[in-house]
């Protein structure tokens, strides 16, 4: 029987209360949202926080809404609500692609966007999606609020810009003209972690790429997002040559490892192929004619 090590449980009643609790309880405290990453780790004793601060009552952090040219997503928005959001589907099909293959419907009923981003699991999908889209993250803490880019937010596996006494409260996705996006994931069976996955976003002016975003997961990407690969897209015609080159660079900037999901060279090949497919589908969605 897997049971977490003992801990003290507190429920936050507001964002300010959560921040105050984290400050009061100190470095051995952890926030719990959906709990579908943290609890399995606690059951395996890979994590043993002394205090859990449950933020599930913060329903004011569960929303998807448009403000100006941004879609704002509250950190407590569950995966199932991202998947069913018409606003998200209209502007960011990459999110829908990814949400369909994140774990399974039962897990998606609990897991949250904020929890997934803060867990920063190296095989997790939402970080790659947000990085490809150029999302920004709003972090709140005792020193006030700050807005960071995904490159600043995602520092590496299990490490983010959110300090111990801070809370990720919102994710912002900019609505820009000529956009198309897609996510490609290979998994061994329904609900599994990715063998490899790639997210791509394109912004077109006519058939020319004005901007692009690429991010990979599960393949040890050396940067999230893959800036070098995205830079290779800018100014090029949206077509096979540009996509193949960007995909090649994205795969080059990975350090996949051999594991039960496959050997490293296979994963590097997948990284390239999935990036290429995601770019092609993103271009179709952006209305490219080539």
């Amino acid at each position: 029987m897997q049971v977490p090590a003992p801990f003290d449980y507190r429920r936050a009643t507001s964002v300010d209360d959560a921040i105050a609790l984290l400050k009061e309880l100190g470095p051995e405290s952890r926030v719990i949202a959906g709990g579908h990453s943290l609890l399995p780790m606690m059951k395996l004793r890979l994590a043993a926080p002394e205090h859990l601060v449950d933020i599930n009552d913060l329903s004011d952090l569960a929303y998807v809404r448009r403000e100006g040219d941004e879609i704002r997503v509250g950190a407590m928005t569950r995966h199932r609500d991202l998947l069913s959001s018409t606003l998200i589907a209209e502007h960011f099909p990459i999110v829908v692609d990814a949400e369909h293959v994140i774990a399974d419907p039962l897990v998606r009923n609990r897991g949250t966007i904020g929890g997934a981003l803060c867990q920063a699991d190296p095989s997790e999908d939402i970080s790659a999606v947000c990085a490809a889209l150029g999302a920004t993250c709003v972090i709140q803490g005792p020193r006030g609020e700050r807005v960071v880019t995904m490159s600043e937010f995602h520092r590496g596996p299990y490490e983010t810009a959110v300090e111990q006494d801070e809370l990720l409260v919102e994710v912002r996705l900019a609505i820009r003209p000529g956009a198309g996006s897609a996510y490609e994931k290979l998994e061994r069976r329904a609900g599994d972690w990715a063998v490899a996955a790639a997210g791509a976003a394109l912004w077109l002016e006519g058939d020319t790429i004005s901007d692009g975003g690429i991010a990979l997961t599960a393949v040890g990407a050396t940067e999230v997002p893959s800036k070098r690969a995205a830079a290779a897209l800018s100014g090029k015609p949206a077509g096979a040559a540009a996509f193949a080159e960007a995909a090649r660079i994205a795969a080059e900037d990975c350090e996949p490892r051999d594991d039960q999901r496959g050997p490293a060279d296979y994963k590097r090949n997948l990284a390239e192929e999935l990036t290429n497919r995601a770019l092609r589908r993103a271009a179709q969605r952006a209305g490219a004619t080539t």
Binding site: V3, A5, D8, G35, H36, K43, N56, D104, V107, R110
Partner: protein, 156 residues
């Protein structure tokens, strides 16, 4: 800590350590052993219960997190001796063999039909995709939930 929640429409409560998982709270503390304890790693879905009407894996929810919420277990589906149409469907279509995944499958079927009274085969397969059955090959489970959809409004 004291945990008070609504289970199958009735108030229930007990003392439990904060680290108690909902599946063990239901089975060991409250004696509701209809919820099955399977893989313990949130893969198999045997421990599925409805939390505020949504299917969740109770091995990956703390009992403390369910405090103040509504939980439905398989014991709550039968009303005054009348089985839920989804339960009837599992009988009519032979939706089970060993029965280990069955409580969770039935609850997910119930939650699906509450949101979508006329689901396609694909929608049913998607809904149960977080739950593993090693006996049926899923075909009869899908048929059982379809059976319930077709008989839901008619008297069983």
């Amino acid at each position: 800590m004291q945990i008070d929640l609504t289970i199958n429409g009735e108030p229930a409560g007990a003392e439990a350590e904060p680290r108690t998982l909902l599946v063990h709270f239901l089975r060991d503390t409250l004696g509701l052993t209809g919820t099955h304890w399977g893989c313990d790693t949130s893969n198999c879905g045997a421990c599925c219960v409805l939390l505020d009407g949504e299917p969740v894996k109770s091995c990956t929810v703390l009992a403390a997190m369910a405090d103040g919420h509504d939980v439905t277990t398989i014991e709550g589906l039968e009303k005054d001796g009348v089985l839920d149409p989804v339960q009837e469907g599992f009988i009519a279509e032979h939706g089970l063999q060993c029965g280990f995944c069955t409580p969770g499958m039935i609850l997910t079927g119930r939650a699906l039909l509450d949101q979508n009274p006329d689901p396609s085969e694909e929608e049913i397969r998607e809904a149960i995709s977080g739950q593993i059955c090693r006996c049926t090959g899923y075909v009869n489970i899908v048929k059982a939930i379809r059976w319930a959809a077709e008989h839901e409004s008619a008297p069983v």
